[in-house]
Amino acid sequence: MALLEVRDLTVVFQRKGEEPFYAVDGVSFDVEPGQTVGLVGESGCGKSVTSLAIMGLLPKRGAKVTGTVSYDGTDLLKLSDREMRDRRGRDLGMVFQDPLSSLNPVIPIGLQVTEVLERHRGLARKEAMIEAKNLLDKVGIPDPNRRLKEYPHQLSGGMRQRALIAIALACRPKLLIADEPTTALDVTIQAQILTVMKELVQDLGTALVMITHDLGVVAGLCDEVNVLYGGKVVEKAMRHKLFAEPRHPYTHGLLASIPRLDAAPGEKLTPIKGSVADNIPWTQGCAFAPRCPNALDICFTETPAEEEQLGRLLRCHNPVVPGTPAAEEVPV
């Protein structure tokens, strides 16, 4: 049994007088210790909602969460608020995209780290201080002794993100969920942070769920990749397989539309046409159908099921076949 097993996770937002909105629609994946699982997709495809649902951080009112999230055998969705609070920080750590708004602005960094250490690991103040210093050191913050006394606004974006990772790691959680941890940072800083995260997974055997929109980050970091579209996983494969031969038209289209640093000069990009605004509801067919170059008639009438195809999980009626270009020239 895997450390984290997410099965059929569904999050429905229901506002009064509005149609229910399926932000996450039957997502399943497993994470083993020492493994990194990626969730990729465009803005609004449900990545953050998935992570919040696992952490039990969605508002109780308005959001309906179904499915199971079993961590080490217990279903997190069935736990009470209190039990969940205990688990967060101790078993589950989370790193958010915006480090400034996830740190408390009026408390020094050091205290924010030691607080967690004292509460969850029962360390005394003195020990906690020493441990906090080690943690900051481990995530690559220079001169940790001094940084411990500083407030979040005195740190740069990269340093704040490291501090946040340090806090998330304070209790040596077995599972870390990182929601776009480097999106707000510069590439040189991103490289530093990703290196830190890679080391964590290798050295401590932490299970990592990496949420990002950047396929480049996924390519370097994740073992297994889940590509999300409109709240559903449309393709799930091991990293080498996914990038070498993307089979879902959406994955294929994404890869063809990214300018690559190592591309030959003059190479054209092939964008996916339209935008997520063109999606049709999943209940009606394939949400991607209006944008899909491979779409068949059946795609507009029948929801594709998640099936084991071509050595991976695919949700598609007409996958990209090796050798044929999927995306045709799209008029802009």
């Binding site: 606004h153 740069s156 800083i189 390519a219 990038f243 990214i258 990009l269 996916i272 802009v332």
Partner: protein
Amino acid sequence: MSETLVSVQDMKVHFPIKRGVLLDRTVGYVYAVDGVDLEIKRGETYGLVGESGCGKSTLGRAMLRLNEPTAGKMVFDGQDFSALKGEELRKMRRRIQMVFQDPLSSLDPRQSVESILIEGLRAHDLDKSKEETGKRLRELLSAVGLPTTALRKYPHEFSGGQRQRIGIARALALNPDLIVADEPVSALDVSVQAQVVNLLEELQEQFGLTYLVIAHDLAVVKHISDRVGVMYLGGLVEEATAADLYAEPLHPYTRALLSAIPVPDPVVEDRRERILLAGDLPSPANPPSGCRFHTRCPWRQATRCDTERPVLREFKPGHKVACHYAEQIRSGEIQPHEVKPILVEEEGISPDIPLVGPASVTEALNP
């Protein structure tokens, strides 16, 4: 076709840092742009890359005189654009347009698309007759790939990519020679980015435009540009053709930048050697002495680096670099070494917050 359209000469923009409650005192300067020279030829795309806060946007805005430069000038098509005043300046603005990063905030939420597009025409007395204007608007919309029904809608009714198209149409409306695009795709979804990049390329061909494309994403810049300038802390550190820069980066910073960019290919990623830079970008309010990069440079030498600021010099035809030791680094004579990260003091100035003093004493006391 190699006639110079834009020439920026020793451009500097220093923002004063003001402190004090009753009377503002200038306590220092943010050296956002600190001596940049560059030339853009007619019809080419010049790409400007660098980390956030290195002064790319400020340089672009200073060129358009949306910020007044502290020193230096920009010569546009043989005319000194920086010396123009009043009406003359306003008239000349027609020829230089800008596309902004945030497609929503750069469109006035209270204007319909029609009124957004007409505004520029009206400012330059170009909307002579109703029919002609109508025709022009339809042309513009079809050029950027929007339906004519868009005219009566408001910006909030469009998706991000469509909004950016509106911004591009607005810039095109006046038939400009130069378009400065500040992060034109960084706010867009990956699948939509490519549409806008392709659109920019097609429009360039169709209308013979010259672009200055500013972006932090080197892959995008490399794809779209003919020549690329790399900025670090207010100055250009390297300039070369896009292919040359990628094939043979000379400046240590460019090397680090190139090695840090993730490539969506696990095979490449697994093999890659990363040059990890230590620490953060120093504060532009307190830039390091000598070579601005010396606090983080893995090739840094004991002499010259921290005392003498390297000038941007021609290393080989069409490839300029600002490093004292570029030759030795290239030949391998100097090897990279470990760098201890240095504490960077945040000045408490965020690039996102315009530096505006408190409105009044009462506001300062109880914000």
